[in-house]
Assembly symmetry: C2
Homo-oligomer: 210 residues x 2
């Protein structure tokens, strides 16, 4: 009972922090606000995570662990490279669309040059690992003659960049796409399938031999 409450409270703080960090940025989110939003005493933040940076680390690690697997599994499937690539892209879009705050945090973390935070290294390694999976699928497709000999790394950057751009700048993207992406319903039901369809078409014409 008490044990469960403790865990729930700590976990709850991490969940809330993901949203607050995502909305306000690392420096913009004060420890007081983080604690207040989670309904816990300020001191608990340091008691649980040692520091504000420790809390950010917890946020990032939690979500990254939840996301491990998936990419590897698809990569090892016995399917055509196109099928594998398509599945990976669909999965990536789904994930980003359902954990938007987290991906804002990720991109801000690798964008800002915060002096020597270990979180940054951790994030870069994680994302790089993800890009590598996609890269290898495309390279395999090229070697097998299934794909055109494109610039693989750029193609990967394009996939990640497109998704990132639309999700992390939702006010701008709302204007561009003429739909309210701040509304989760719209994001899930309208924008997500549209983005998936676009990437599918785009990659198909770009990669597949005609």
């Amino acid at each position: 009972m008490a044990e469960k409450d403790k865990i729930d409270k700590k976990e709850h703080l991490v969940e809330v922090a993901e949203r607050v960090f995502g909305e306000l940025g690392y420096e913009g989110a004060s420890t007081r606000l983080l604690a207040q939003e989670a309904g816990v005493n300020m001191a608990m933040l340091n008691y649980y995570f040692g520091s504000k940076d420790g809390l950010l680390k917890a946020v990032v690690e939690r979500r990254i662990l939840l996301m491990r697997k998936g990419f590897e599994e698809i990569a090892q499937k016995d399917a055509s490279c196109w099928e594998k690539l398509d599945q990976v892209v669909q999965l990536y879009v789904s994930r980003v669309a359902t954990s938007k705050y987290f991906h804002k945090i990720l991109f801000r973390e690798i964008s800002v040059m915060r002096t020597g935070s270990e979180v940054t290294e951790f994030v870069i390694d994680h994302i790089y690992g993800n890009t590598l999976h996609v890269q290898q699928i495309i390279e395999e497709g090229i070697k097998k003659g299934e794909f055109r000999a494109v610039d693989v790394e750029m193609t990967v950057a394009s996939i990640f960049g497109t998704v990132n751009y639309l999700i992390n700048s939702r006010r701008l993207a709302s204007k561009m796409l003429k739909m309210d992406l701040l509304d989760d319903q719209v994001l899930q039901n309208d924008m997500k399938p549209r983005l998936q369809a676009y990437l599918q078409d785009s990659l198909k014409t770009h990669l597949l031999i005609k």
Copy 2:
């Protein structure tokens, strides 16, 4: 002399602030550091720009004014839609590659939900204007039968997203592309033409009727 010194000093502060804001983010860059890096007294910041937010606004407005024109000029040229699109993309990549700090600021500004800063609205309107130019060129190409009937807004988001991703996360991008993008020489001589060539190829296969 004094008039000139004053202007130079003010202008210098804006230039330095662009770099510091770009490196550390808005909240991460303190007014003291901003003033110190520019070699001026901190009070001058408020004297010149009224507030920290005013300085950010000055940074953004200055660069945006420098960037006005260019897109419009190309859009009004008497050329094929493909030629116009190609030129716009080349120009965009060039600009982003030569003002990397600024584009970090732009994207962070539209990514973070800072409560009601007028700078945010300004930035969104500016970027949206840029995307509209590209969008109209593509739409014209489709209407003329020069391009395939693709998802125009998504195509535009893909162009901007790809460039943004590579420039704003240069540590990650350096790993992906296996080149040191923190080195301006490499960025200009290796990465920039490679990105331009990729976008050209990608858009060509995606848009042009075969």
